[in-house]
């Protein structure tokens, strides 16, 4: 009797334990299933021989094969170059894992899919290697953007060269023009020239002048494209312009918690300047503030636009309470093509151009930034 009851107690205990293991197993499995079904990454598992035994939903999408099609095939067959995939697997075999490898896979349709792959050994309870797990992120788009950026950089360089060439051609063209004008004066004063010859020469001089004029127009247009030649001037209300800028940026502010506060000086703030260029600067500065705030996690996101009237100038400030600019970046933010934004997002042109624009209007941009507190950009421009 005593034995029976202790046996049945033991049985109950084991049954309970088993049930709790079952629950745990079920939870772990659904957790795993949830990851494999929902990740956009390519996650796979192989057996000890490198044959694919599991493939995430994201993996189906990245490679273009369904789970059924893929499982049972050697995983290296999906690499663009199976020969190159072997060393990665081998190094994983040696060290237990291989991280952040650049592995190109081949999509079912033949195109190359660039992946950032990490491989890890799968070890059983006895400590034996039973397979490999791979987690791969599709970075094809990122690679393309990087290539685009190189292309953009090259185009910008070509633009600079073209502007330089146009600039250099200006001088000889000017010499030709002056030489022709001088020759024209000499001809006009010359004695002993036949009427026909005189007319012929005058026509030639005129033609030279007209053609150099044409050259000048071409270089001017090219240089004007490379950079607007000179700012236009008209009376502008800075307050109105800032409000227009906010309206212009409204689509970017939609669906965000960013609040815009206005701390304007009283009345309209009139300056004699170029409204189009000023707006370009404000769009850049406020756009930067929005971008910085979107990177900040917490909810208290605010941009304060302030204006101060000083004797002969006005000061416009754009203050955000985002993460601030790290000290090591502060010296570089006005450098051409310097950007901390991801490839394809920033060109590194905004601030350098803004600085050029403000200087061409006779003003100055300054900034003050503290990490964890925020950044304030100040634009000072003369009233007239």
């Amino acid at each position: 009797m005593g034995l029976d009851s202790s046996l049945s107690a033991e049985l109950r205990r084991v049954t309970r334990e088993l049930a709790s293991y079952k629950i745990e197993l079920h939870q772990t499995r659904s957790y795993l299933q949830c990851i494999l079904q929902n990740t956009s990454d390519l996650i796979f598992a192989t057996d000890a021989e490198g044959t694919l035994v599991s493939l995430s939903k994201g993996g189906e999408k990245v490679l273009g094969y369904s789970w059924i099609e893929a499982v049972g095939r050697p995983v290296k067959d999906f690499a663009e170059d199976p020969e190159l995939f072997e060393p990665a697997m081998a190094s994983c075999l040696k060290d237990g894992c291989a991280l952040a490898l650049d592995v190109p896979f081949r999509h079912k349709e033949g195109k190359t899919v660039y992946c950032n792959a990490s491989l890890m050994d799968l070890i059983n309870r006895e400590g034996q290697r039973v397979g490999t797990v791979g987690i791969c992120q599709d970075i094809t788009r990122w690679k393309r953007l990087q290539e685009d950026l190189v292309q953009v950089d090259r185009l910008a360089e070509i633009g600079r060269i073209a502007a330089g060439v146009a600039h250099e051609i200006n001088n000889p063209v000017a010499v030709i023009r002056e030489a022709a004008a001088w020759a024209g004066e000499v001809v006009a004063d010359a004695k002993g020239l036949g009427a026909d010859d005189r007319q012929e020469l005058e026509e030639v001089m005129e033609r030279i002048s007209a053609q150099t004029e044409r050259c000048g127009n071409i270089t001017h247009k090219l240089l004007g494209f490379a950079r607007e030649s000179r700012p236009s001037r008209s009376e502008v209300d800075i307050h109105g312009l800032l409000k227009e800028t906010i309206a212009f940026l409204a689509p970017q502010l939609k669906h965000t918690t960013i609040k815009i506060e206005l701390a304007f000086a009283e009345g309209p703030l009139l300056v004699n300047s170029d409204p189009r260029l000023l707006e370009q600067v404000f769009v850049n500065l406020i756009g930067n503030a929005i971008h910085a705030l979107l990177e900040k996690g917490e909810d208290d996101k605010q941009i304060e636009l302030g204006t101060v009237r000083k004797d002969s100038e006005v000061e416009i400030s754009v203050e955000d309470n985002a993460g601030g600019i790290p000290q090591e970046h502060q010296g570089k933010i006005f450098e051409l093509f310097y950007t901390t934004k991801p490839p394809g997002k920033g060109t590194g042109l905004g601030l350098p151009i803004s600085q050029n624009v403000v200087r061409s209007l006779g003003g100055e941009i300054t900034f003050d930034s503290k990490v964890g507190v925020g950044t304030t950009f100040k634009v000072r421009i003369p009233v007239s």
């Binding site: 001088n171 000017a174 010499v175 001088w182 270089t219 240089l223 000179r230 061409s360």
Partner: protein, 164 residues
């Protein structure tokens, strides 16, 4: 305005061909013209003679237009400078603006615009110089020095300002 011959022009541009033709045309028009091909040459010329208007190219090897302009004005405070700038040199043009250029002309410069600018610059120089001369004269008169001293001081002034 007086005779064009009274307007003494100092040309400074490293593009020798250009300077040559502009100088010829200005001379033919009747101006007095000195052509120089670098900032250094221009300063040497300014040490020897007085000029009314300098036409300075902004971009030159060696001493650039900004520095040339500054040193020329140190040597001859009433000298008016017309600065020739290429496209895309707005920053340096503004920098030289701190040196009080009389006017900026975009290259390739329009000859008629240059001539008009030179005449205007000369007028401004005459006015400034005349006003300063009057001021000095009044200062001497107010200083209460004797007739002899005054005559000598005025003679010195005439020499300095080249007027009177």
């Amino acid at each position: 305005m007086g005779d064009l011959q009274d307007i003494r022009i100092l040309l400074v541009d490293d593009e020798e061909n250009l300077v040559e033709y502009i100088a010829k045309r200005l001379l033919k028009k009747g101006f007095t013209v000195k052509a120089t091909f670098s900032g250094e040459q221009a300063l040497e010329a300014a040490e020897r003679d007085h000029y009314d208007v300098a036409v300075v190219d902004l971009k030159m090897p060696g001493m650039d237009g900004v520095e040339t302009q500054r040193k020329l004005r140190e040597a001859q405070p009433f000298l008016q400078c017309i600065v020739l700038t290429g496209h895309g040199s707005i920053e340096s043009a503004l920098e030289s603006g701190q040196e009080d250029a009389f006017q900026y002309l975009l290259k390739p410069v329009d000859y008629d615009a240059l001539v008009a600018s030179i005449k205007d610059a000369f007028d401004k120089k005459q006015k400034l110089q005349g006003a300063k001369f009057q001021e000095e004269v009044q200062r001497i008169q107010a200083s209460g020095m004797g007739a002899h001293g005054m005559r000598k001081a005025l003679a010195d002034l005439r020499k300095i300002y080249g007027v009177g």
